[in-house]
């Protein structure tokens, strides 16, 4: 953000723009960049999802559009979705129906602001970045509930109710899993957390001690539930609920849901990368030219793992879903928290 502001100041000439205007311009630019990143990752990941699904099911996936392996398929899809008729059901609650996709989208867009992609490349280097990300992404639940309610459709309502219950429940193990990391890093600032992991692969928080590794696994599983993907995709089960809370949405409004879903998928992977996997740090010596690419590569690998899990595992039942969360993951996360604390007292020398 500081760099962007400085860039604007240099373009306009020093002193011609007031600092406040510069601040606004910088913030606006960063927001635009983040929105573009979101759109781009949605485009790339829809293609990746279909290709991986194809390979797992012994077929090719999209092959026609674009020269190479259907690479232009998502662009064709996007053009198609833009032309679709925008339908608002007659009995829907119009105001909330229109508002819901935006709430969902804003929730995930806001969270992007605190992700440190590279040293200094972070839209808002907040003191409490980690807490802020959790707070911002909790708005997504409200978007889901609103859409399910406004659609006035029993499938949507079921989907929304399941989604809310699931996301609120899984937020607890998700947050508990990152607490040991905060303990180690001694800070809630995302950049500080990444910087604390520099200097070799054994500095990564996922590998600092066995408890933290389990925490990482808990985080990863809970994050899959957080973004409503198989095996935790109860809110949008095709075979039971048509499409869950976005059943009634079409055209551009549906595109917002779609975009937010893939952006969230990438977001949780980015958080995992920053918090557990060393951020832009890597073990290869002499490879220092593009920290942001290292960061993105790790996050994309995590996304691919999530896609792989989606096309491999069957879906859980609702009661199993809640059982896993409340009776397995939360106690385990608490044990890991206590274990990490004891480990720190026993083996880590404080500076």
């Amino acid at each position: 953000m500081e760099q962007v502001t400085a860039l604007f100041a240099r373009i306009a000439g020093a002193g011609t723009l007031s600092p406040q205007l510069l601040l606004w311009l910088g913030a606006l630019t960063m927001a635009l960049i983040m929105a573009l990143v979101m759109a781009a990752c949605a485009i790339v990941f829809t293609w990746a999802e279909r290709k991986v699904a194809g390979f797992i099911q012994s077929r090719y996936g999209p092959m026609r559009v674009g020269r190479w392996h259907g690479i232009a398929q998502p662009i064709a899809d996007m053009l198609k979705i833009l032309q679709k008729e925008d339908i608002i059901p007659a009995d829907a609650d119009r105001k909330f129906f229109i508002l819901a996709p935006f709430v969902l989208f804003i929730g995930s867009l806001m969270a992007w602001a605190a992700i440190p992609f590279a040293p200094g490349f972070v839209a808002a280097d907040l003191d409490m970045g980690l807490l802020y990300i959790f707070a911002a992404s909790s708005l997504v639940t409200i978007g889901i509930l609103m859409s399910g309610w406004a659609s006035n459709n029993k499938w949507s309502l079921y989907g929304a109710a399941r989604g809310a219950a699931q996301i609120v429940s899984y937020e607890i193990p998700l947050a508990l899993a990152v607490v040991p990391v905060v303990l180690y890093a001694g800070s809630l600032n995302m950049t500080d957390i990444v910087v604390a992991q520099q200097g070799g692969i054994w500095k990564w928080f996922a590998l600092r001690n066995p408890f933290l590794f389990v925490s990482f696994l808990i985080y990863f599983l809970a994050s899959i539930a957080e973004v409503n993907r198989t095996p935790f995709d109860l809110p949008e089960t095709e075979s039971e609920l048509v499409a869950g809370y976005h059943t009634e949405y079409s055209g551009m409004r549906f595109a917002f849901f779609f975009l937010a879903e893939y952006a969230n998928l990438f977001l949780v992977s980015c958080i995992a990368t920053a918090v557990f996997l060393g951020g832009w740090g890597h073990p290869v010596p002499g490879l220092n030219f593009a920290p942001a690419l290292v960061f993105l590569a790790k996050a994309v690998l995590l996304v691919l793992a999530q896609i792989w899990i989606r096309w491999t595992l069957p879906r859980l039942r609702v009661d199993q879903l809640m059982h896993v969360c409340w009776k397995v993951m939360i106690p385990l996360a608490l044990v890991c928290l206590a274990g990490s604390g004891v480990w720190m007292l026993a083996f880590v020398r404080f500076a």
């Binding site: 409490m128 807490l131 802020y132 409200i142 509930l145 309610w149 609120v168």
Partner: protein, 170 residues
Amino acid sequence: MFESVCFYLCGGLMLLGGIMTVASRSAVASAVWLIFAFLNAAGVYALLSAPFLAILQVLVYAGAIMVLFLFVIMMLHGPVMNEDLRSRSRWFWPALALPLAAIAGSAVTLLGRARGGAFPAPAPHGFGRAEQVAALLLDRYLLAFELISIVLLVAIIGALSLGLREGRRT
């Protein structure tokens, strides 16, 4: 100047959210307006140099409490949705007059005291950040912290027992 604009914006929108919460016909609209009011309350906390509270306000109220409210409203569905505002209690007009009188009265007080309670500017370094609040919480207010965790534990057990009794009956 910037601070005043932010205050009037956040404060005004928070008040609007509150009024609409009370005045909306449907419970869902009420809940959504209340979320709006709470988000603006987070802005007010940020203006009071309490960033930790601002973030927790969003996390706890918008992310958890209001989701619970919306969830229950949807679960109960039909009968709770719309309430005829005309079948109001005899307290309606006095209650409506209350906030109006308060706003008028406070405005008069404000005008009367031109230099009313300006904050010591600026806030001390690190004021209201997580570290400071945590230090207070685990040091001076440790007993209160432990007690509040017991309150939460009792709330969990209470909510569970209320829910479980229903499960056994059916």
